[in-house]
């Protein structure tokens, strides 16, 4: 971590700092001296040294390294002054005691050092364990959270309890706007939303830094596997507090845990969303299929029964036969209206999934004309398809529907025996396919409005249709990434043209073709 943090040195000892430690150390040495004075006559000086060493050990254990050093020196001085003859003087009569002092000082210092370090390590280990447990508990709580608010509340109370800091989370909504969610104790005025946004966008932590005399603030991006899921902003409660490396590490861990939890929530939401969408799509499809079935079944009976009547042949007088034919034709027309309405409903509900396949335009033109054969009996059909057209990727059923609607439209308005032409050619936007007729053409100004729903080319005419056909054409063409437009031909008549984009058609596997062409009989 490259972050300016004050290092946490030999951790806090007894409460309230080192001066207290030195005072206690001095008092301990004084106490030992007082205790040992009455025993002066009974004990060997060597055993009094032991008492002092014990004191140094106690100071080292309870108060740490520096007070132990002080105790070591004080002990030697006190031993010399009070117990080594001549007493109450620092002078020494027997030079041997100089050795005693040296050994005593060395032993006291060494023992003090070792003991103090041991104590420090034990305390650090205990604290680490406690923090790890707290982190673990938070992770466990986070794994059970099912809303972002919960995640923030859990992380927030952890930060407040363990680091005495305020926390807020900035989480993006679907539009990428960061929304603030504060921890249980609320956010902090020192937290700056614009810095949070910078951290979110760059994906790098900002701080710890302080503005004016405010507390230290830290912005940690929630980096998850897929992307940055938000920013944690942490402000220390006390403006005077510094952040230790250890605390910074814990905050990093908190940020990762919150990031993982957010990502998990995100995927849960995605899964639920997908489930919901599939479900509603299925429902709509079922509904439309049911409506389609219920409308088409009686129409089938109508068409079939009147057809059966017609085919009984001579048994039927001509006028009744005509009636039967009219019933059949009207039923078929009703069917095409129903088809258009259902198709429009499907297209608008978005339940149409394009079954795109690479295919030649020629084929769909052929199948459309075959489909419209009976409608086209009174017209001449001319096809002019450019010979080197590329394969296009489209849904044949839907594009056939477009062509059928356009041909139907042309037949509807063009007089009998006139020509209906289908042409296809390369154009800038891809391939343009057009249907032209020799009819009266479009009313001026209606060239684009005819593609609106329920708008008809010739509003007052007796020609049938509810005006959905062209709206469906436009919806289908646009779903394919193409465009459709209508115009009047210079020589009279209307021309409706749509484009389909040209893509990168898949190549045929030359090796396969060669093998099959060589191998098959």
């Amino acid at each position: 971590m490259e972050r300016p943090v004050t290092s946490a040195r030999s951790a806090p000892l007894l409460p309230h700092g080192r001066w207290r430690g030195f005072a206690w150390s001095t008092a301990a040495c004084l106490g030992t001296t007082l205790l040992a004075s009455p025993l002066h006559e009974l004990l060997d000086p060597a055993n009094i040294v032991m008492l002092f060493l014990l004191t140094v050990v106690w100071v080292a254990v309870r108060l740490g390294r520096d007070p132990a050093v002080l105790a070591a020196f004080l002990s030697v001085a006190s031993f010399d002054f009070f117990f080594v003859p001549p007493r109450f003087s620092l002078t020494v009569s027997d030079a041997q005691y100089l050795l005693t002092f040296a050994v005593m000082l060395t032993v006291a210092l060494v023992i003090g050092q070792l003991t103090a370090r041991l104590g420090l390590e034990a305390r650090t280990a205990a604290r680490r364990e406690q923090q790890t447990r707290a982190l673990y508990e938070m992770a466990r709580d986070l794994s059970g959270a099912f809303a972002a608010e919960q995640v923030v509340a859990i992380a927030g109370s952890f930060v407040e309890e363990n680091l005495s800091a305020r926390m807020a989370a900035y989480l993006p909504d679907d539009a990428g706007v960061l929304n603030i969610l504060a921890g249980p104790a609320g956010g902090s005025p020192a937290i700056d939303a614009s810095l949070a946004r910078v951290a979110f966008e760059q994906g790098d932590p900002i701080g710890p830094s302080r503005a004016a005399s405010g507390p230290l603030v830290l912005y940690l991006p929630l980096r998850a596997a897929m992307r940055v899921r938000g920013v944690l902003a942490v402000a220390l409660a006390d403006p005077a507090d510094e952040l230790s490396a250890e605390q910074a590490g814990i905050l990093d861990a908190v940020a990762s845990l919150v990031a993982i939890a957010s990502e998990r929530l995100h995927f849960v939401a995605v899964a639920q969303d997908a489930l919901l969408r599939v479900e509603s799509e299925r429902l709509r499809n079922t509904l439309l299929s049911a409506v389609s079935h219920d409308l088409r079944t009686p129409l089938t009976a109508l068409v079939g029964l009147s057809d059966a009547l017609i085919l009984t042949g001579d048994a039927l007088p001509a006028s009744k036969r005509e009636t039967a034919e009219a019933i059949r034709d009207e039923a078929l027309r009703m069917n095409s209206v129903v088809s258009n309405l259902l198709d429009m409903a499907r297209l608008q509900a978005g339940v149409v999934r394009l079954r795109k396949e690479w295919q030649p335009v020629e084929e769909v033109v052929g199948s459309s004309l075959k489909h419209m054969e009976s409608r086209l009996q009174k017209h001449r059909v001319r096809t002019a398809l450019q010979s080197d057209l590329p394969l296009l990727e489209f849904d044949a059923v839907l594009v056939e529907r477009v062509l059928c609607n356009l041909v139907d439209n042309a037949v509807k308005y063009a007089p009998p025996d006139s020509e209906v032409a289908i042409e296809a050619r390369r154009c800038e936007a891809g391939v343009e396919i057009s249907v032209s007729d020799d009819g009266p053409g479009l009313a001026p100004g209606s060239e684009s409005s005819i593609f609106e729903k329920f708008v008809r080319g010739q509003p007052e005419s007796a020609t049938s249709g509810v005006g959905l056909g062209l709206a469906i054409c436009r919806a289908i063409v646009e779903a394919h990434g193409g465009s459709i437009r209508a115009e009047n031909r210079p020589g009279g008549g209307a021309r409706i043209a749509f484009t389909l984009p040209v893509g990168e058609a898949p190549a045929l596997d030359a090796a396969l073709i060669a093998r099959l062409e060589g191998e098959l009989p």
Binding site: G304, S367, V397, L516
Partner: protein
């Protein structure tokens, strides 16, 4: 029909549709038995030795596609499917399960009879007629020769294989999947552009107007059909 009248079973839950289908079929000399449910239909098919089954896909008791799979376990009788569903996938599923042809509701009686006649004729003709003629094209399978207006036409092996497959199933709809599997192999069942390109070649060589084919017909979104 001078032979014993062919038996046709109509499995359809709508009475009025059954009625006109029945009268139309009787008009051309078939003996018709009706069934309202899939279960009844299977029983009838087992006992009446039908020459043809007309099957509605939307039966109340069972999916029509399941019916076809069941039937195909023990019978090769031709099946025409009637479908009110616009979804091509239902038709494809029925055809892949073994149906021979389909009609989308609503359909005319003329259309129905044309399909029925084609399948009955195919069944009566039996297998292995080595010669076919359509339009101005003659195909002699025994000699592997294809002629158009008396002139030999060169077909590549793939084109020839595709053509013979369609000819052998005259009147029957073959799905993209079935054709791709038979000609290109199972790994290519989803590469329909191969099929479309080669059908295009065949039309260029054999149809008078490739943009308005008369014999190599497209069943949009489903497959192809050869119509003599």
């Amino acid at each position: 029909m001078s032979e014993p009248a062919p038996v046709v079973i109509v499995v359809e839950d709508e009475r009025q549709i059954r009625r006109f289908v029945r009268s139309a079929l009787e008009e051309i000399g078939c003996r018709v038995f009706e069934a309202e449910t899939a279960a009844q239909g299977l029983t009838e098919a087992g006992t009446r030795k039908p020459a043809l089954v007309v099957l509605d896909l939307g039966l109340p008791d069972r999916d029509g596609v399941d019916f076809i799979r069941d039937l195909r376990n023990w019978s090769g009788v031709p099946v025409i499917v009637l479908s009110a569903r616009a979804e091509e996938s239902d038709k494809i599923a029925a055809l892949d399960a073994g149906a021979d042809d389909y009609l989308s509701k609503p359909f005319g009686v003329g259309e129905l009879l044309a399909r029925v006649r084609a399948l009955l004729r195919r069944q009566a003709a039996g297998e292995g007629s080595p010669e076919f003629a359509f339009g101005d094209v003659r195909v002699d399978l025994a000699r592997r020769a294809v002629e158009r207006s008396g002139q030999p036409v060169h077909l590549t092996p793939i084109e020839y294989r595709l053509l013979t497959l369609l000819l052998a199933n005259a009147g029957k709809v073959l799905t993209h999947r079935q054709l791709l599997k038979a000609v290109w192999g199972p790994a290519y069942v989803d590469s329909s552009h191969y099929l479309r390109i080669y059908v295009g070649h065949l039309r260029q060589k054999l149809e008078a107007d490739p943009a308005q084919p008369r014999h190599l017909l497209t069943e949009t979104g489903v497959g192809y059909r050869f119509q003599p």
